[in-house]
């Protein structure tokens, strides 16, 4: 195992995870106002109507597949016959992947060709699209090259072991180093995506509103405890020093 392997499969993943966790905590504390899906449906909905659900639902299935393959130990999934597991992983994963990619292509086409949507695209969006697109392209290539064209590679013995070992703080980089290079590239890019995650619109993933299912419809709240009438309460943010002139509420309306 080379020094590069150590960096790519131990140092880099931990750096990215620190960025993911610390970044989210930081942003949650200091940028509630910026925490949004930044929907562009108001500008254009004809393309979005099919592209966005295809992408998102495809992605949800792909993520479920990753959960089964990476998080659940092989000793559990071997209870399913090997051929069935392979069919599910390559078949369902492949179909979900294709649906997701068609959706993503639709969304990128829409973003590029609709002037209003393109104008609303930020640098952070562009970076996120590049990294996310690379992760997805590598993942789909891996699935097709190894699982569908090739006879099937049992990532449960290498990639999955390494992935879980990261969270036990006992990283098994040698396992990952022995995996095919496509898997390695996909995994490294995915960790890069985790690293930039908190600083992009991807934060909306962590505000998926599942609580809505149990909440009473009408929400009542008492007047904000901000002190004087006509004023709002203190805003979260950097601790201020000195005088009175700075004003967060105004920033919120810019």
């Amino acid at each position: 195992m080379s020094g590069l392997d150590t960096f790519l499969f131990i140092v880099f993943p931990y750096m990215c995870l620190v960025s993911l966790v610390v970044g989210h905590i930081w942003r949650y504390r200091y940028d509630q106002f910026g925490w949004t899906s930044r929907s562009s449906q108001w500008y254009e909905s004809r393309l979005l109507r099919w592209a966005s659900p295809m992408f998102h639902f495809g992605l949800l299935f792909v993520l479920m597949g990753h959960f089964v393959g990476l998080v659940i130990p092989e000793s559990w999934t071997t209870m399913v016959p090997e051929s069935l597991y392979h069919l599910m992983s390559a078949g369902v994963g492949g179909i979900a992947g294709i649906v997701m990619v068609i959706g993503l292509i639709g969304l990128i086409y829409r973003r590029r060709t609709t002037p209003a949507v393109f104008r609303a695209t930020t640098k952070s969006d562009k970076l996120m699209y590049v990294v996310l697109g690379t992760v997805i392209a590598l993942g789909l290539t891996t699935t097709f090259y190894w699982q569908i064209i090739g006879g099937g590679y049992d990532y449960r013995q290498t990639v999955a072991v390494w992935f879980r070992s990261i969270f036990y703080f006992n990283p098994q980089a040698a396992d990952m180093a022995s995996a095919p290079v496509l898997f390695q590239m996909h995994a490294v890019c995915a960790f890069a995506l985790f690293a930039i995650w908190p600083y992009t619109r991807l934060v909306h993933v962590f505000s998926a509103p599942v609580g809505y299912l149990w909440r009473p419809y009408i929400v009542y709240r008492s007047r904000d405890v901000g002190g004087e009438p006509g004023n709002r309460g203190p805003r979260p943010g950097w601790d201020r020093q000195g005088g009175m002139s700075g004003n967060r509420s105004e920033n919120n309306y810019r």
Partner: protein
């Protein structure tokens, strides 16, 4: 009985001249920012007309508000929680830029900087959404004063419902203005539609607000509101709506739209309602009885039993006093002349309208008859079905009787006051014909026609024992809090006014080193 207080508004449509001062001052105060160029918390629509956004009243298309399911239970028209989450990636009922309009500015620079030439330079319209040249084709009140009605008038959902009966030929046309703000409903479907729980109704005064920190931009509130009064800020990706100028109300001032209304047609006041009976009122099976059901949950603020319950709910004394003097309760319940807008949406809206008598009076006067004679007026109200059916579709889910009753009261008031003003013998039968006494009629006249400032706006200030340090002395015009020294990182994380403040107070605040240095006695 569980008593809650609600701030409400009444608009007297007979007095609205459609000047849009309310819209402009509201926009200057609240939505003069990028991302909300197209947003009008207050807009004035000409009716018949499509309204803003176009055709928003067609709930078969937009699926706003509530409906009853087969078992008579209240359901969101666009579907419940699971359906909301399933369509979260693409909201099928969301109006987009074409349903509002593409906001624009003009390339004024070219007027000054164009090189000398044979032609006059022009300022071309530039889209504020794409920065490109654009063709201006629609805006918030493009069909103002029935403009283009012969072509577009039939796209008004109510006109479509009434069929061929509404005519747009000049001789047969009628029109009136309908100013609209958020209804601050008792049963708000926008709040119910919000997946994040970011929208809420304030317990103290019932104002419906969006928590800008909790909103995640799922945009279900925009489609959930049948009045389309929640807007999507396309720059911040968050929902925004009319706040009923709560920073002003909290210090006892009327909303910007009310304060600046040149016709003085707006009334602000509290109503008390029974929160335990909200569901009962909203599930009334007969749509035409919804208006009455809505009024039935409003409580008489003079009833000792109601007062005792209200005190038990913690409503302070000065609020109860304000509820007793409330013009909104008087107009909606005592005189029974104010009607809710589209009660059939089942949201129990709390902005009320006194329907206009003017289409009837205008038509009557044009025929050469005396427009103030009670016999003529009653006859005209009975004869002029079309404007009244139209009003009924707006205010009573199509039931013309309550609209008739209101118009007859207004007509009777008009005739009665003429006899008073001309010094003629007062005829008590005029008031009796509409079930009122002369004293009631004259006090209604004072509220509607004299409409003193302190009678129109009965606003108790919010309760806090802190001194009102930042209360302005004068209504200023600046809402700009930008630091003049360019240093934005200084300042304690202390409350900062979001209301208007005077020049002196702004200056004092900007120059103060510490919050405690401010003169709190002001």
């Amino acid at each position: 009985m569980r008593v809650m207080a609600q701030m409400g508004m009444v608009m007297n449509l007979d007095k609205c001249i459609g000047c849009s001062t309310c819209s402009v001052t509201c926009k200057q105060a609240w939505t003069n920012r990028p991302g909300v160029e197209y947003v009008w918390f207050n807009n004035v629509e000409t009716r018949p007309g499509q309204g803003y956004p176009r055709g928003y009243e067609d709930q078969e298309k937009w699926k706003g508000g509530w409906k009853l399911d087969r078992k008579g239970r209240l359901r969101l028209k666009a579907g419940g929680r699971i359906r909301k989450l399933a369509t979260i990636f693409s909201n099928p009922n969301l109006p987009n830029v074409d349903d509002y309009y593409e906001p624009w500015t003009y390339d004024y620079d070219s007027l000054l900087n164009a090189p000398a030439g044979d032609d006059f330079p022009v300022a071309r319209p530039k889209s504020l959404i794409t920065d490109k040249d654009m063709k201006v084709e629609w805006s918030a009140n493009w069909d103002d004063d029935l403009g283009g009605a012969t072509e577009h008038g039939y796209k008004d959902p109510i006109v479509a419902k009434l069929g061929d009966k509404v005519k747009f030929e000049f001789e047969q046309a009628f029109m009136f203005y309908l100013p609209r703000i958020c209804e601050h409903c008792i049963n708000p479907s926008c709040v119910a539609s919000c997946p994040s729980g970011a929208m809420y109704k304030r317990e103290e005064d019932g104002i419906v607000l969006v928590d800008q920190d909790k909103c995640r931009g799922w945009r279900m509130c925009v489609s959930g509101c049948p009045y389309k009064k929640v807007y999507f800020n396309h720059t911040t990706g968050k929902a925004e709506k009319c706040t009923m100028c709560y920073p002003r109300l909290e210090v006892g001032q009327p909303t910007v739209c009310s304060e600046t209304c040149v016709g003085r047609l707006r009334y602000l006041g509290l109503v008390l309602y029974d929160a335990d009976r909200v569901a009962e009122a909203a599930t009334e099976p007969d749509e035409t009885k919804l208006m009455a059901a809505q009024k039935s949950i409003l409580l008489d603020p003079r009833d000792p039993e109601v007062l005792a319950e209200a005190r038990r709910s913690g409503i302070p004394e000065d609020w109860l006093e304000a509820a007793q003097n409330s013009p909104v309760y008087d107009l909606a319940c005592r005189y029974d002349v104010a009607l809710p807008l589209h009660p059939e949406y089942r949201t129990l809206p709390m902005v009320w309208y006194i329907p206009p008598l003017s289409p009837v009076v205008d038509a009557l006067t044009e025929t050469g008859h005396d427009g103030e004679d009670i016999g003529n007026l009653f006859g005209a109200i009975d004869a002029m079905r079309i404007p009244i059916e139209y009003l009924a579709e707006l205010f009573t889910a199509g039931d013309i009787d309550p609209v008739n009753d209101v118009l007859r009261k207004l007509a009777a008031m008009r005739s009665h006051m003429r006899t008073v003003n001309l010094g003629e013998a007062v005829d008590p039968s005029i008031a009796e014909a509409v079930g009122m006494t002369i004293a009631e009629m004259e006090s209604m006249y004072r509220l509607l026609a004299i409409a003193k400032y302190e009678d129109r706006y009965v606003i108790p200030s919010a309760h806090t024992e802190v001194a009102n340090a930042l209360l302005e002395e004068l209504p200023g015009c600046s809402v700009d809090f930008t630091s003049t020294n360019g240093d934005s990182s200084v300042g304690e994380a202390k409350p900062v006014p979001v209301t208007i403040e005077s020049f002196q107070l702004t200056k004092q605040r900007l120059e103060a080193e510490h919050y405690s240095d401010l003169d709190h006695k002001q």
